[in-house]
């Protein structure tokens, strides 16, 4: 099938670029690792506070930390795309018969693979810090992180394609990442928040992702929030993909 053929070509090409300087995969993980080592111990005394089920702070904090990796790790993938637009690479692709979806999917798939590697590494590092997890729950969580990563990557690509300059992309992505991460209860469970903040969090799709992955980590598979998390982030991921595809196609009008 042509789409699969094209996606594979674009994916391999993008992955090669990333693997030429693999050190950035690790630099990109620096922020969550710092939170793991220098911030999580602060939460140690909060085991009895509402939201910290079972008194294990790592089990509450690490799922949120991985969502943070998905949000911040993928938010700035639009920058190399701007380089490609400026040097004519994207226009060169657009005058070939290559599937337009493949141009985006090849990039998003690479982002997803990098994100998966980072999530697994962070989780392994977290185990000595007291993380206990349900393995099937963790594996299902990875799907959630993929959805969240796709959302952020596609937003970043869309704005890159619309702005075509770095100066506008950086503040835009910063403006998006900060409220969505604060309003998703990454750092502390939203159960601690005043009611108005909890209502505000309900319109933030990422908060559903965080709730779902917390239940998955402890193997609480009956929880309705798991279902909500998958449906909401999954739908938004698809919508954001089509938005970035639309932005790409608009370049050739």
């Amino acid at each position: 099938m042509k789409l699969l053929h094209d996606v594979r070509l674009m994916f391999v090409n993008n992955l090669n670029h990333t693997l030429k300087s693999p050190v950035f995969i690790f630099i990109n993980m620096f922020q969550p690792l710092m939170y793991l080592v220098l911030y999580m111990p602060l939460l140690g005394g909060l085991g009895s506070v509402p939201g910290f089920t079972g008194g294990n702070t790592a089990n509450v904090f690490i799922p949120g930390l991985l969502v943070m990796q998905a949000i911040f790790g993928c938010a700035f993938v639009g920058f190399p795309l701007i380089d490609d637009i400026r040097s004519g690479v994207i226009h060169r692709y657009l005058v070939t018969p290559v599937s337009r979806s493949a141009i985006i999917l090849g990039k998003v798939l690479r982002d997803v693979v990098v994100l998966l590697a980072q999530c697994i590494l962070i989780t392994l590092v977290a185990i000595p810090f007291g993380l206990t997890l349900s393995v099937p729950g963790f594996l299902l969580s990875l799907v959630l992180y993929i959805f969240i990563g796709i959302i952020m990557s596609c937003i970043s690509y869309s704005f890159a394609l619309i702005y075509k300059v770095e100066d506008s992309l950086a503040p835009t992505m910063n403006t998006i990442t900060l409220p969505v991460s604060l309003l998703s209860g990454i750092f502390l469970p939203l159960a601690l928040a005043p009611l108005w903040l909890q209502y505000l969090a309900k319109i933030n799709p990422f908060s559903y992702g965080v709730n779902a992955t917390r239940d998955l980590f402890v193997g609480n598979f009956q929880s309705i929030s798991i279902f909500e998390g998958f449906i909401i982030t999954g739908i938004i991921a698809v919508v954001m993909f089509y938005w970035s595809l639309h932005s790409l196609k608009k370049m050739a009008t």
Partner: protein
């Protein structure tokens, strides 16, 4: 549809609409271009920056949609049969399009595969082009290390790797050193021998003169005149004489004097110089010199030249192409 026509446009128009503070503004970049390019030709668009050359090429490459008009490329309808056109047309834009983070070889192989060529054939084809364009010594290096001329060769090879029937080159030699330019000219001529039809845009008269079978002079979004270089040059109808004077005042006085006494086809003053086109320049020149000298207008320098495409451009647009370039 004549199968000999590689490009056929009727009243091709492209309008850009932009919004400035909620107010819609329209810029008509291409204003109804009728164009026919025959198979096997090198066809040149000659014109200053912003004339509409690149926009027309982008439309033909499927990179932009025309606002109105009919366009057929290789017999395919531009709007409805984009994929057929993309498969058979190569386009090398002004900025090029090589991926600088990859090697030349990686660029070429991927490009071939994007056209559905299998990996093995793509590799073979990439090696052939690397040899043909004399890129073997640097083809496995990252394209970010290439010189301007090396990168340009890669750009053109990328546009050629799928053996298109039509190649669109947007200012292929702009910004290159003289050796690289001369090299690319031979390469472009060789492509023609292979039967590829080429539509190139250029701001350089010498380039258009040397390479093109047909030239269309394009200005303000319209084709002003079109023909072979010889046709265009003889349409100017005479030789060009340039007199230069000490000051522009004298040049203006000389203009009046010459207009009164001699039958001229064209006369233009820029700064201290007068450009005039006249039949049989060789014989007329001594008389003109005597006339000017006798009236106390001391001529500082004089050149006489056979018609060039510069003169063609001057005749049809009322200004010099070089002058126009300097203003920008």
């Amino acid at each position: 549809m004549n199968s000999d026509y590689v490009i056929e446009t009727k009243r091709l128009q492209k309008v850009f609409v932009s919004k400035v503070r909620g107010e819609k503004r329209q810029v008509e970049a291409v204003k109804g271009v009728d164009l026919i390019v025959k198979r096997g030709q090198i066809f040149g668009f000659l014109g200053p920056n912003g004339a509409g050359k690149s926009t027309t090429q982008k439309v033909l490459s499927t990179l932009m949609r025309p606002s109105s008009g009919e366009v057929k490329v290789l017999g395919y309808d531009l709007v409805r049969q984009q994929d057929k056109i993309r498969q058979n047309v190569g386009f090398v834009s002004q900025v090029g399009g090589a991926d600088l983070a990859s090697t030349g070889m990686e660029n070429l192989v991927l490009q071939a595969q994007l056209f559905g060529i299998d990996a093995k054939t793509a590799k073979k084809s990439a090696e052939e082009f690397s040899q043909r364009f004399q890129m073997t010594s640097y083809i496995d290096r990252s394209a970010s290390t290439y010189s301007g001329g090396q990168k340009r060769r890669l750009d053109i090879a990328l546009g050629m790797i799928h053996h298109p029937q039509l190649l669109l080159l947007d200012e292929p030699t702009t910004g290159l050193d003289p050796q690289s330019r001369a090299y690319l000219w031979t390469e472009i001529q060789a492509l023609k021998t292979d039967g590829v039809t080429i539509l190139l845009t250029t701001q350089y008269m010498d380039e258009a003169d040397k390479l093109c079978d047909t030239i269309a002079i394009i200005d303000h979004g319209q084709i002003i005149v079109q023909g072979t270089p010889d046709e265009l040059k003889s349409s100017v109808g005479g030789d060009t004489i340039v007199f230069s004077f000490v000051s522009s005042e004298i040049a203006c006085k000389a203009e009046v004097l010459l207009n009164e006494h001699v039958k001229l086809e064209l006369l233009q003053v820029t700064d201290n110089s007068i450009y005039l086109t006249i039949k049989d320049g060789e014989r007329t020149l001594p008389d003109l010199l005597r006339l000017l000298d006798g009236s106390g207008m001391h001529v500082q320098g004089v050149t006489l030249s056979r018609p060039s495409l510069d003169d063609v451009f001057l005749k049809y647009t009322g200004r010099s192409l070089r002058e126009d370039g300097q203003k920008q």
